[in-house]
Structures are given as C-alpha cells and as structure tokens.
C-alpha cells in the first residue's frame, strides 16, 4: 500500500497531471447544446421578435420545462447507471391521481399541502422500488420491467381515479405553487433546485461516482466491492421519486390529478437526456446536458406556438431539429464510440 509510494514529490505530479490532461470541461462538453439553444433563440427572435424575447415568454418556457425537467433529471440517473425507465410517465400519472384522490376523497377537509406532495413522491418512489427490485434482484431486463410498470401503473391510475380528473381543492397547495419568489414561479424553482441537487449528487458525491461506475462496468464495480444491485435499486427509486414529484408539480400546474397525465413522457425524457449527451449505454451522464436538452425541446415548442406553422409541418421540422441538435452535441463532446445505439 503506502510502503511503495513517494519516489516523486506527489504535489508536483498532481499539479502537472491535472492541468495538462483534464477531461474536456463541462462547458466545452455542452458547447454544442448551448449553440443549438442559442440558434433556436435566434430563430425565435427573427420569427417572433419581441414576442419571443419577452421576459414572460421565457418564464412560460421554463414553466413548461419544469415538470418534464424533473422527470428527465431522474431519468438521467437511471440511464447513467446503465438502465432505462419507461414507466416515468405512467408513474407521474399514478402519483398525481393517488395524491389528489387522497386529498379530495379519503382525508378530505383539512389536508396539509405537504401531505399531497409527500404522497406523490412516496407513490413514485414505491413504483421505482418495485421496478428496481425486479431489475436488480429478479434480473428482468430493465426495458421490460419498466414497460410492465408503465402498463400496470397506468391501469392502476385509471382504477383509482375512475378515469375522471380529480380537482384538487387545497388552496395552500395552489398558493404555494402559484407564488413567484424572486420573480420566478415556484415550479421553476423546484426544477432548478432538483437539478442543482442532482448535479451535486452525480458529480460530487460517492453515490454519483458509484452510479457512473455501475453504468460503465457493472461487473468490475461488483468485483471492486460496490453493492451493484442495491445501488441499481436506489437509482430506480430516485427516478420514481422524481416522477412522483413531477406528478405533484403537474397537479399544481393543472389543478387536477389525472390518469392521463404524463403520457409519452418517457420518450420526451429519454430524448432530452440523450440529446443532452448522457450515454444510453450508461457510464456517462450529465445533468447540465439534460437541463439543456429539456430547454431545447421546450423552446422549440414555444417557437412553434408563436409561429403559425401547420401542425404537421411542425412535426417534420421537429424531427430535423432533433437530429441537428444531437449532431452539434456530439461534434463538441467528441466522444469516442458514439455510433453505438
């Protein structure tokens, strides 16, 4: 161990080494995305002028991004850890329904608004726990286990809600989410805080390091003493938790819990994560990239709405823009082996 060390003054080497060969910085790695986003903004500016540049418009973009953003942040963990979660949208719907049903029917009357949020998060985390256990201990491939969860959670949500939208009548809840501390809506703050915490978790903690290790080479991680299965479960729990939180945010945004909330969010979230530069095969994840990916998609939607493009033409343009954004991202990130699926 340390019996063989220090033939060279260690400080020297570190300084040398870290300076000369640091991995491309976070900015450089996300430069392509930033460029894509700026180009989009320029397009928005040219086509919609002040209507796009308006401060309120940016708040609109951010508010839209916040729900899907929280889901995508959760997804980033699972994908970085070498998995995938197709159930996020359904779980979002289920937790919104569960929380709103609890508030409107079961408890009724005086329910503290935090209970709603807590219920949604707990339901989400529980779904993640089930998926995670199936995958880590039951050895069901992640794609299939979460596909099953996606189908089942949607069905359960329909049964609980009886396919009706549950209008939430907890004024403090709405008040909290409709306030605008420091000029930004609470929903946006929630997204920003979740993203910041996720960034710290992924980049500055042992948990994040384990996530990257497990996603990069599960067998090597196991032989190095990492509890790969428990860690995998934890990743799905985090992702489920984020989906549940997003369910509560969705209630805040729509005033209702509904089994239709979040449909197809799995695709949106995976797309944002992958466009952001997280490797779909695991082992490399970037929260900043994910946030930029989410912003690209929501800016795109905003520009479409501002401009009167026919709905079908919008789809075609969107397809083209997705490809361009990824090409830009890949060009600057300059990762080897990016041609694998």
């Amino acid at each position: 161990m340390s019996a063989f060390t220090d033939p060279v003054p260690p400080d020297e080497t570190v300084r040398e080494g870290t300076r000369r060969y640091t991995l491309p910085g976070s900015l450089a790695r996300n430069l392509g995305l930033v460029i894509a986003l700026l180009v989009l903004c320029a397009v928005g500016w040219f086509t919609a002028d002040v209507r796009f540049l308006d401060g309120d418009n940016f708040v609109t973009i951010l508010r839209f991004a916040s729900v899907i953003g929280v889901v995508s942040v959760g997804m980033t963990f699972v994908i970085t850890g070498g998995g995938i979660d197709l159930s996020v949208g359904s779980v979002l719907g289920l937790s919104s329904v569960w929380a709103s049903t609890l508030a409107t029917q079961t408890i009724a009357g005086d329910v503290h608004w935090l209970v709603v949020v807590f219920t949604a998060c707990a339901v989400g985390a529980a779904c993640g726990l089930v998926s995670g256990i199936l995958i880590a201990y039951g050895k069901v491939v992640a794609f299939i286990a979460t596909l099953a969860m996606m189908v089942a959670a949607r069905g359960l949500a329909e049964i609980i809600s009886n396919k009706r939208s549950q209008i939430l009548d907890v004024p403090p809840f709405m008040d909290f989410f409709q306030s605008r501390p420091l000029g930004l809506p609470t929903l946006v703050w929630v997204f920003l805080i979740v993203a910041a915490m996720a960034w710290v978790l992924l980049n500055r903690t042992t948990f994040g390091r384990r996530t990257i290790a497990v996603g990069g080479n599960a067998e090597a991680s196991r032989l190095a003493g990492i509890r790969v299965r428990a860690h995998t479960v934890a990743l799905y729990v985090i992702c489920g938790f984020c989906s549940g939180l997003a369910g509560a945010m969705m209630i805040a945004r729509t005033t209702v819990g509904s089994s239709t909330h979040g449909s197809l969010y799995e695709l949106d979230a995976i797309a944002a994560v992958v466009v952001g530069g997280t490797l779909l095969i695991g082992g490399r994840g970037t929260i900043v990239g994910t946030v930029l990916g989410v912003l690209i998609f929501s800016t795109l939607n905003n520009i479409f709405t501002l401009n009167n493009l026919s709905i079908s033409a919008q789809s075609i343009v969107k397809g083209a823009i997705i490809v361009i954004a990824v090409l830009l991202q890949q060009r600057f990130a300059n990762r080897p082996g990016s041609s694998s699926p």
Binding site: T60, V256, S258, S263, T305, N308
Partner: protein, 328 residues
C-alpha cells in the same frame, strides 16, 4: 375529395352553417383583424384530424382572421404552456379544445382575466367563468340517442345481446357516452353485454372488433362510439362474415353516412357529433372580438353556451346530413 366511389359534395372545405362564410350574411364582411390562437389535442384519430383541418380551413376563409395554430398535443402541460404563450403574445381570442377540460381551466381563467376571449370547444372546463363561449358536443346525449335507437331496434327481446365499442377509455367524454348509452338501454330493460374499448383509430377499431366478434358469437346490436374507428370495425365484421346485428355509429363521418344511405351494410344509423365544433369556435371568437352578434338572433351578444345537437342519422334522413359530414 378523397374517396373514389362517390364524389363528395364540395372539394376540400367543410361547409358552414353557423354564422360566417355564407353570402348575404352581414357577419361575412371583414372587420378589424382578429388574432386567434388555436390549440387542440394531437390529431391521433380521424375526428380530431377533421377538427383541426376544419378549423384551419375555416380560418383561412376569413381575411380578417389571423390564426396561430399550436402543435396538437395530448400533454396538458404542453397545452397549458401553449395557452400561456398565447396570453403573453396578446392574442385577441383563444379557441381551445382542451385534452382535459378540468386541467386547462386554471390557465383559461388567467386568459380571461387578461382580457382574452376564450372559446371552449368540446371538452368542458370545470369553471364556467373560464370561457366566454362554450361550444359543446353532447356526449351523454350521443350515448342516449344511440341507446334509444338500439332499444327501438331490439324491441322487447329481453335476451338481446348488446355490444359496445368505446373509444379511448380514459377520456371523460368516453365515460359520458357510455353512461348515456347504458342509461338509455336501462330504460328498455337492456344492458351492455360486451364492451371493448379501442382508441378512435381505424386499426384500433379493427383489432377491438375482431376480438369482440370472437367473444360474442351472437350479437343483436353494436354501438360503436366513433365512425373513424368504425371503418376498422366494419373491416373486422366483413372479415368475420357476420351480419346478424345492427350497428350504430358515432360522430357521423361521410363514409358511414354513404353506407347508411346505400342500405347494404350492417351499419344502419350513426349519431352525429359534429367535427365542425372548432371551426364554429373560430367563427364565434371572431364575432365576439369584433363585437358582433349571431345575425339571425335578436340577442346582441353571442350566446354563452352553444350545445350542438346529436341527432340520429338513418337511411331516411341521411341526405340532410351528408353535406356537413366530416371526411374521416
């Protein structure tokens, strides 16, 4: 026209009967330009496709209407942000067919508070103040009409097998239709014996119907919620070689009406659910913004609620409805 068997009455455009377009109507004259934002669910089935096409086409007929169409979406989160964008943008009116009425109520209220005329189409808000005008189909009424027609057909055969092919089962409107249907059936002592749900698409209708036909070897009547999925349902019926029952459609597409008129199909009737609702919504929004009224009414304001009628179309009266039917 897009069917090759019989040329439809008009090329392309859907004909109008509520307010705008027609000659001699004072409301047809151009007024101040009206900017209208339009948002609707994704055109993932024929009726919704017809809704958006009709809205776009109808708006194009008015020189004084500038329409901003948002991407069709089934994500209420996105739809809310589209409405917010319209609000920021300061449009004069918003025609909104919400994916989920209750979920869009809050943002519609905000639009109203911002002084924007909101026209609610098809799926109703949970707060009447959230819209200046509401254009509604009658989903419950549709179910009732279909149920009553089937009651007439099966008469007092107590053992009659009645089947229902619903649309997207998680939508409140489907729940309303099914409720109306079973309520009406209850009136004549019938119940729904077999129920399947499709997804408003042709392929979904075909798949649901072929399994349904297998599940029920003998059927007396079928109500199919949607004529677009009905194309698939009929294909399945044909493939199974079954014709022992009467079938009632829903929504009222031109194809189905032509089949009803021809009389040699199992489909005997359809209940109209107009696909022109959004087009009417645009016409009404324009009138409200320009402070005009419905010319034929004495009332000087546009009414608050327009509920469209859900008549039953049969071989007898089909000629009357064919011209306004949507091409699915």
């Amino acid at each position: 026209g897009c069917t090759s068997n019989e040329p439809p009455p008009e090329e392309g455009e859907t004909t109008e009967d509520t307010g705008g377009g027609g000659g001699g109507n004072p409301n047809a004259e151009a007024g101040d330009t009206v900017v209208i934002g339009f948002s609707a669910p994704a055109a993932d089935h024929g009726w919704m496709g017809a809704i958006t096409s009709a809205a776009e086409d109808h708006a194009a007929e008015y020189p004084d209407v500038e329409l901003r169409v948002a991407e069709g979406t089934n994500d209420v989160n996105l739809q809310i942000s589209q409405v917010e964008t319209f609000i920021n943008d300061g449009v004069d009116a918003i025609v909104l067919l919400p994916f989920d009425g209750a979920a869009l109520t809050e943002v519609a209220l905000r639009a109203m508070e911002a002084g924007i005329v909101v026209v609610n189409v098809d799926r109703e808000f949970s707060d009447p103040n959230a819209a200046r005008v509401t254009v509604l189909g009658d989903n419950y009424g549709m179910g009732v009409s279909a149920g009553q027609y089937i009651c007439e057909q099966v008469g007092d055969n107590a053992d009659a097998v009645v089947a229902e092919i619903a649309g997207i089962d998680s939508l409140p409107l489907t729940q309303d239709r099914s409720q109306g249907f079973s309520d009406a059936l209850a009136e004549c002592g019938q119940t729904v014996d077999n129920r399947v749900a499709a997804d408003f698409t042709v392929q979904g209708g075909e798949a649901a119907a072929s399994n349904l036909l297998q599940a029920a070897p003998q059927i007396d009547a079928i109500w199919n919620h949607d004529d677009d999925q009905g194309i698939g349902v009929l294909a399945a019926i044909e493939a199974a070689g079954r014709d022992e029952f009467v079938m009632v459609g829903g929504a009222g597409s031109a194809n189905m009406m032509e089949l009803i008129a021809s009389g040699d199909s199992v489909i005997q009737a359809t209940v109209i659910y107009p696909a022109t609702q959004a087009a009417d919504g645009i016409a009404l929004a324009r009138l409200v913004v320009q402070q005009r009224a419905l010319a034929d009414l004495v009332e000087v304001e546009v009414p608050r609620l327009v509920q469209l009628y859900a008549p039953v179309v049969t071989a007898e009266n089909v000629e009357q409805y064919l011209p306004t039917a949507f091409q699915s």
